[in-house]
């Protein structure tokens, strides 16, 4: 199965991946567990300061179906429940656990062979209880993707497109979209039985939906997995090496030929659900092994680590602790990026915890770190040529720079998928993506 449509984009410099294996990161001495994923939707803590907790024990819960429950990722003592910074500098109520060094689990991890006989409602409940989160943007509990859509979307003025649709196509995104990310490829090569089990669970959850596994041009589906996939009726979509194929809006377009109706639609409107391959692994561990999500597979690269490594990191591990345990790091990193090299966020401090939304960490030394320039646009048109959304980023960035946000919205600013290609190709090194995000934020506040 190949690309249904072509798209503009760029070929990014190829990256080396040291070893597709996923190593366990050392156990952290303390963890900081934020009680929510995004914005001000947070759980209520169900533990108190001073309480002993075990690994996998529930520490926060909410009635809101867009907030996943939070579990302790290590065993130890709760030393504080207080606000802590997230990666964009906002404060979020967090639970801090000091480790006792034992890592004793609440329940022994065992593989529940009977998972395939469970009802889909039971699977959904297990999934919700395990707190598995699909990485964003926007990050949300995984089961929210499959839930029956709420009827509150009727305010959208769409013609010809059903406003809410049950999911009929599930795309498993196994394409490592950006430099610095290698976890999906690793999961596909090393966890083929998990992927197959995950697809079985998804089929049970969503019923008759068509399943597509998308792999990059260098991503390999090994023979046991491809055999299983054929048995399960899963189609394999082979992409090409072109950014931003791994980003969901473009991937959906290339696999199904459908576009997400923007500005305020989402993939549910066209009956598609995209599941990250790494999230699928966490889903299998949650439902088959009944293990709450206390870990995240994170790719680490940069600053001496020329080939990307993959680690299983306990949630809440501070980036600083990871740096200290990282033997591969050479030189003092001056920039730490959470996420991929194209769309990631540069951290302002290394005291930020790894969350369920962290896909990669990139450490850059002074020579690797890039900067932007305030120079004027020269209208060369490179960004227009490469924009996968077919926007005019040159014009939009100027509107946003001079605070003409309404005009930018009329010129489809809200259709930007924030892939960052415009800023990547800009010969004047203008902060194009930043200007777009700035304009979007100002419009959302207006």
């Amino acid at each position: 199965m190949g690309l249904k449509t072509s798209f503009s984009g760029v070929s990014l410099p190829p990256q080396k991946v040291s070893n597709p294996a996923i190593e366990d990161a050392p156990l952290p001495k303390r963890v900081v567990l934020p009680l929510g994923q995004n914005g001000n939707r947070v759980c209520k803590p169900v533990v108190e300061v001073g309480e002993q907790v075990k690994t996998g024990q529930l520490i926060g819960q909410s009635d809101d179906f867009l907030v996943a429950p939070v579990h302790s990722s290590i065993s130890g003592t709760i030393t504080a429940i207080r606000p802590w910074f997230d990666l964009s500098g906002n404060e979020m109520l967090s639970v801090i656990v000091e480790s006792d060094g034992n890592d004793s689990w609440l329940e022994e991890i065992r593989t529940d062979e009977g998972f395939s006989d469970k009802e889909s409602a039971q699977l959904l409940t297990d999934l919700k209880a395990a707190g598995v989160v699909e990485i964003g943007p926007p990050s949300m509990p995984l089961q929210a993707k499959f839930a029956t859509p709420e009827p509150s979307k009727e305010s959208r003025f769409l013609v010809g497109i059903p406003q809410t649709k049950p999911v009929d196509t599930v795309i498993i995104n196994g394409i490592d979209a950006e430099p610095g990310m290698a976890a999906k490829g690793a999961v596909l090569t090393k966890y083929s039985s998990e992927i197959a089990d995950g697809i079985r669970i998804l089929q049970k959850l969503i019923g008759s939906a068509q399943m597509v596994l998308a792999v990059g041009s260098n991503g390999s589906v090994n023979s046991p997995l491809s055999g299983e996939l054929a048995g399960l009726g899963v189609q394999v979509f082979r992409g090409k090496d072109k950014y931003p194929l791994g980003l969901n809006p473009i991937l959906i377009k290339c696999v199904t030929g459908l576009e997400i109706p923007l500005p305020d639609g989402n993939e549910q409107d066209i009956g598609v659900a995209v599941v990250d391959a790494v999230t699928l692994l966490h889903l299998v561990e949650a439902v088959r092994d009944l293990k709450p999500q206390v870990e995240k597979v994170v790719s680490v690269s940069g600053a001496g680590i020329t080939a990307v490594k993959n680690f299983r990191v306990r949630l809440g591990t501070l980036v600083q602790d990871l740096i200290e345990q990282q033997t591969g790091l050479k030189g003092e990193p001056v920039k730490v990026i959470a996420g991929g090299a194209m769309t990631g966020v540069a951290l302002f401090s290394t005291d930020i915890p790894v969350t369920k939304d962290t896909a990669a960490l990139i450490f850059q030394t002074a020579t690797e770190a890039k900067s932007f320039s305030p120079d004027a646009c020269i209208n060369c048109g490179l960004c227009v040529r490469h924009c996968p959304s077919r926007l005019l980023p040159n014009e939009l960035s100027k509107y946003c720079e001079f605070t003409m946000f309404e005009e930018a919205r009329d010129k489809f600013l809200l259709h930007c998928i924030e892939c960052g290609i415009c800023a990547y190709v800009c010969p004047e090194k203008r902060p194009m993506l930043h200007l777009m995000r700035y304009g979007k934020r100002e419009l959302s506040l207006a």
Binding site: P83, V159, S349, P427, P431, L433
Partner: protein
């Protein structure tokens, strides 16, 4: 609240995404364009001797000096080394007759840099092609100096063409269709005819243009639509009345057609950036060029065609493909 994060650690650099950048800068684009113009300059030197080189050097030096002076005066960042000033100067020299006096090209280049580009805010912000603004002022102000032609004197191997003593377009205009029957097309193609320094040799410009296309500094849209529309328009009239209108290929190979299509009509900042916009821009340039050549007051319409289409650029940028995810809306 007590701050969770201490700030006494070494500070991290915070910047916006993306965290990698393509190596290409404005200078790369400009110096590539300059390299692409070198064959045309060499052809000019080959056919017209070192007078051509002298004019080119005068123009480039003037352009750099004016650019630096204006940027200093306006308190802007000095960008004279990014190559755009050199391109402007060189292009100006290439569209002048080798006999043009030095003070005319100097004044023309100065007008191009100062009135054509810098007062609008520099590279990329000028609405009209700066080279052509300077040329238009010089052409209208000093008609005699700008339209003195010499026979080409090839430096070696070739004999001077000698079929015509004026540029082919002016011969066509004043002496009729039959006047060019004897002129070998090869002479037109390699540039063995009187004319401006850098526009006589189609093959040299083509080499530079193909280099730019291969390096992806320009796209095919404007050159192809410019040349194709001009040729097809000429073909139409040739088929209607070959007694009045010459073979369109002669029009294609003479004058500024190729330099216009590959270099003047692809000037960064003054042309549309969307695919459909560029195609309409090229078609407009081709048609207006041919209209001026057939019925206009000027012999070669390329300069005014490009300038006229420059004025439409903001409008042509409205021609764009459908944006991702756009659906029809009811009120």
């Amino acid at each position: 609240m007590e701050k969770a994060i201490s700030l006494d650690k070494p500070m991290l650099r915070v910047s916006v995404a993306p965290h990698i950048q393509q190596k290409i800068t404005t200078s790369h684009i400009m110096y590539d364009t300059l390299v692409a113009l070198v064959p045309a300059l060499l052809a000019g030197i080959f056919f017209f001797g070192f007078a051509a080189l002298k004019l080119a050097l005068i123009c480039m030096a003037t352009a750099l000096a004016c650019e630096a002076g204006m940027q200093k005066l306006m308190g802007r960042k000095l960008t004279v080394f990014n190559g755009s000033g050199l391109i402007l100067g060189l292009l100006f020299a290439l569209i002048c007759s080798p006999e043009t006096p030095w003070w005319v090209v100097m004044l023309g280049t100065a007008i191009a840099v100062i009135l054509g580009r810098e007062i609008y805010g520099g590279l990329g912000n000028n609405p009209f092609n700066a080279v052509l603004v300077g040329w238009a002022v010089a052409r209208i102000s000093w008609v005699d100096q700008m339209t003195t032609w010499v026979m080409p004197e090839p430096q070696f191997l070739l004999e001077a063409g000698g079929y015509i003593e004026d540029p082919p377009l002016s011969v066509l205009r004043w002496e009729g269709v039959d006047s060019l029957v004897d002129l070998p097309w090869l002479d037109l193609f390699i540039g063995n005819v009187p004319g401006t320094i850098g526009t006589v040799s189609v093959v040299a410009i083509l080499i530079g243009g193909i280099y730019l296309l291969l390096r992806r500094r320009i796209t095919w849209h404007i050159p192809v639509s410019f040349l194709a529309s001009a040729w097809l328009f000429g073909l139409l009239f040739w088929l209607i009345d070959p007694e009045v209108y010459a073979n369109p290929t002669i029009y294609l190979l003479s004058g500024w057609m190729f330099l216009g299509a590959f270099f003047l009509a692809t000037d960064k900042g003054t042309v549309p950036v969307t695919g459909p916009g560029m195609i309409v821009f090229g078609i407009g340039c081709g048609l207006i060029t041919m209209i001026i050549r057939y019925w206009g007051g000027f012999l070669d319409g390329v300069a005014f065609a490009v300038l006229l289409m420059n004025a439409l650029t903001p409008l042509l940028d409205r021609l764009r493909p459908r944006v991702y995810g756009r659906v029809k809306q009811i009120a």
